[in-house]
């Protein structure tokens, strides 16, 4: 039997982490290695359908996730998910299928296997804050992020809809702040922690995304944050990649680095910049990190 304090997970990176958010994947793997948390990538995983699928074909979207859940169950253990959208879809699928026998039967027919409805799907945040625990996380810190003022950005999917993720309080979560405080960073109180960034509209209706993300960046800046921390590749895309464009459209200046949670925690745990993919960020974080003496 595995001792209780050794953590092992099946790992579902999701498409973004193999593409635009490669640094999230890299930093997650490196950080978990450093923290002695086992990750086994689910063999043969595929897209969860993310934000568009369920608007087009509910059965398809449920089946995609159900199949992934089934693949993950073969690995065994709880399933670790990095992307907020994947997390939301996998959890939603479990929720919908356990509420409706009819849908469950349809999906089981489609994937030709029983859906594991009781397996735990966990976001990385949950694993760091609760499974590992803030105390052990704190012990792993070799370079506390003293003096770094971070705006924790949850986005819309990590806590919503209220009945699904059960990660933290819907309207006033603190899990990100808890993690950051454990690694020595300072967190700012700001208003747009849970707003929508526009997510997938980044391609189809960029105007909407610019407006929404502008409000988020504006609010973070007004609150005195040095940088933003996210736990979702879609949020990251909109806040980081689009930042330059937003500055242009709204004639303003932010230069606000946007980190993944694993990057900041990795930094505090003593990982080097190249192991965390910090060079892959569009808004260059190096000047800030140098200024704060964190490199």
């Amino acid at each position: 039997m595995t001792p209780r304090n050794i953590l092992r997970y099946a790992y579902y990176p999701g498409c973004s982490l193999h593409a635009s958010a490669g640094e999230y994947d890299l930093s997650t793997r490196e950080l978990f290695k450093k923290l002695n948390i086992g990750l086994t990538e689910v063999p043969d995983w595929f897209c969860c359908g993310a934000t568009p699928a369920h608007n087009v074909d509910e059965l398809l979207s449920l089946s995609l996730c159900a199949k992934n859940l089934e693949l993950a169950a073969r690995v065994g253990g709880d399933l670790a998910v990095a992307c907020a959208a994947c997390f939301s879809r996998l959890k939603t699928t479990q929720h919908v299928l356990s509420e409706s026998d009819v849908k469950r039967q349809q999906v089981e027919k489609a994937i030709d296997a029983p859906v594991p409805l009781n397996g735990n799907v966990k976001h990385l945040l949950d694993i760091l804050a609760r499974d590992l625990g803030l105390e052990r996380l704190g012990q792993a810190v070799t370079k506390p992020l003293f003096g770094l003022k971070v705006a924790c950005y949850y986005g819309c999917l990590l806590t919503r809809p209220p009945e699904v993720p059960n990660l933290d309080c819907v309207e006033a979560p603190t899990i990100m702040e808890d993690v950051l405080r454990a690694i020595g960073a300072e967190t700012v109180a700001w208003s747009h922690r849970l707003e929508c960034c526009g997510a997938n509209f980044t391609l189809s209706r960029p105007g909407v995304v610019l407006q929404l993300s502008h409000a988020i960046l504006d609010s973070a800046k007004a609150a005195g944050a040095d940088c933003i921390m996210v736990a979702c590749p879609l949020c990251h895309g909109n806040l980081d990649i689009r930042q330059k464009e937003i500055e242009g459209v709204y004639s303003t200046h932010y230069a606000m680095p946007v980190f993944y949670i694993t990057q900041l925690v990795g930094l505090a745990a003593g990982l080097k910049a190249d192991k965390l993919g910090l060079d892959a960020l569009i808004v260059n974080p190096m000047p800030l990190l140098k200024e704060k003496g964190l490199l």
Binding site: A172, S191, H192, A222
Partner: protein
Amino acid sequence: MSRIGVFICHCGENISRTVDVERVAAEVGKLPGVAFATDYKYMCSDPGQGLLKKAIREERLSHVVVAACSPRMHEKTFRKAVESAGLNPFLCEMANIREHCSWVHQDRKEATVKAIELVGMMVERVKKNRVLPTITVPVTKRALVIGGGIAGIQAALDIADAGYEVILVEREPSIGGHMAQLSETFPTLDCSQCIMTPKMVDVANHPRIRLYTYAEIERVEGYIGNFQVTVRRKARSVIEEKCTGCGVCMEKCPVKKIPNKFDQNLGMRPAIYVPFPQAVPNTPVIDRENCIKFKTGKCGVCRKVCGPGAVDYEQEDRLIVEPVGAIVVATGFDLYSIEEKPKGSPIKGYGEFGHGRIPDVIDGMTFERLASASGPTGGKILRPSDGREPKQIVFIQCVGSRAREKGISYCSKICCMYTAKHTMLYHHKVHDGQAYVFFMDARTPGKNYDEFWRRSIEEEEAVYIRGMVSRLYQKGDKIVVMGSDIAVGVQVEIEADMVVLATAVQPQKGADALAQKLGISYDKYNFYSEAHAKLRPVECATAGIYLAGACQGPKDIPDTVSQASAAAAKVIILFARDQLEREPIVARVREAGCVGCFYCKKVCPYGAVEEKEIRDRQGNLVKVVAYVNPGVCGGCGTCQATCPSKSVELDGYTDEQIVAMIEAL
């Protein structure tokens, strides 16, 4: 052989639509012992009861079964009718073929079969019914009123004015309740304190009202006419009889900065305090949690400065037992919290709108204190955060109310009106300010109510936006309120200086615990349940206990006062008699079979079982058996179910009656 009469009611069409009543009468008529069976349109009507009485006389009936609605509805009616025809009322039973049959089934055949069986069961039961003599108990002509808000005050004054003694118990140091906190009242805008304080003084001066403030109900025993109530008088640390109310102690108290609950924590008070200047009694209380003397043992200034020597640090809680005959419950309401999960509440908090962490997002009661001339700002509308006058103010209605997803589906009833009042008060005090109201529906039934609401829009320039607010957040020193205007179909964003939430009306904290002490029922929100929603709206199902005010459901002041007077009238009706007839549903011991194991005594929740010695003629002890005091017995029957030899029996629910019903299956 019994001659049972069975009467099947159509209840208009309520029963006959689904149940073939003629068929039921025909089938039941064949049962052994049934001498007469008929059906009738409305059994409870005067002709229906006449039919019943006539049949009893002409058919020489020995027992009666009425198959109609729930016995909870009309058992008393029919038993009375049977009694007036000369039969013992307890020889009449009801079969419930409406609530338990015609209304819950649609298949006529199934419903008819079920009705026949239900009536058949009752026929078998009634055969075993015995003549039960009524039990009379004396009535203690004193009333207890719990809660010293407007409801309790009104009820206490009415009962006392009728000539009976009243014990008024209030949890806080002063009576007055929420009404004393209000600024002005709708729909007349007269000052709340001006109409409230004279009544408070009346209570204090009334020769027949004994007032216990800073006191709670510890225990309630007994039954209608004969309650024994234990009141806990919490240690006030000031002797009421000695205190003159001069207030020197409060002036000299070195601790000054304790948020005053009466002012919704906006104003400050010392550690020895009265909650507000017009408090009744005007006797201070020491808040032991904040008092230096109690925390460190040093200080003692108040005792030094008190001329009459009224300050007593050693005072302890006192338990006082008061015998009363009736109880009026008037514990009032509390406001819903927008925090995530308020402590001790059965209902989750709203969990939105800043969770109570944005200082300028306040609730309606806080606004009342700001608007009150005797409030912490002297009646000026000022922001709690920086004391500036808000120029844009947003009112949000239905915060928690009618929010099924938050666990509350009811309408809080008073918010539409008080929000309209708030917009007016605001406009009167801040002439260049603008008020916005987000609302779902405006509910303004009541005399002069709709006129009042229209005035707020038409004359006082409040902007009403139909739609709900999705969220609000602090931005600089403004609060950004984001909502929708569904009338126009646009999203609205207002940068407000202050936001007032019309949070839902909820029962007082601890309402459930009090209900359990009293043995009264309450709904899932902890509002107390009346005996009948329409016909007995002020009585509890528990005899001798009456309800007044918002503890029963959200109510405005006129409704509360009306109900309080109604409750008082009920108490006065009860006190008009010297003796009270009580239902003879009590347990009796069959002494021949009793072996004195006293299991009955061990389980009796009322302590009604006593030990009785049986002696022979020479005076030798034969055995010790149980005896049930019929005045104390509550009639639950737990003793009988527990008795191994079934030597104690609950009249009206004997084993014979119950087994007869089971065997009739």
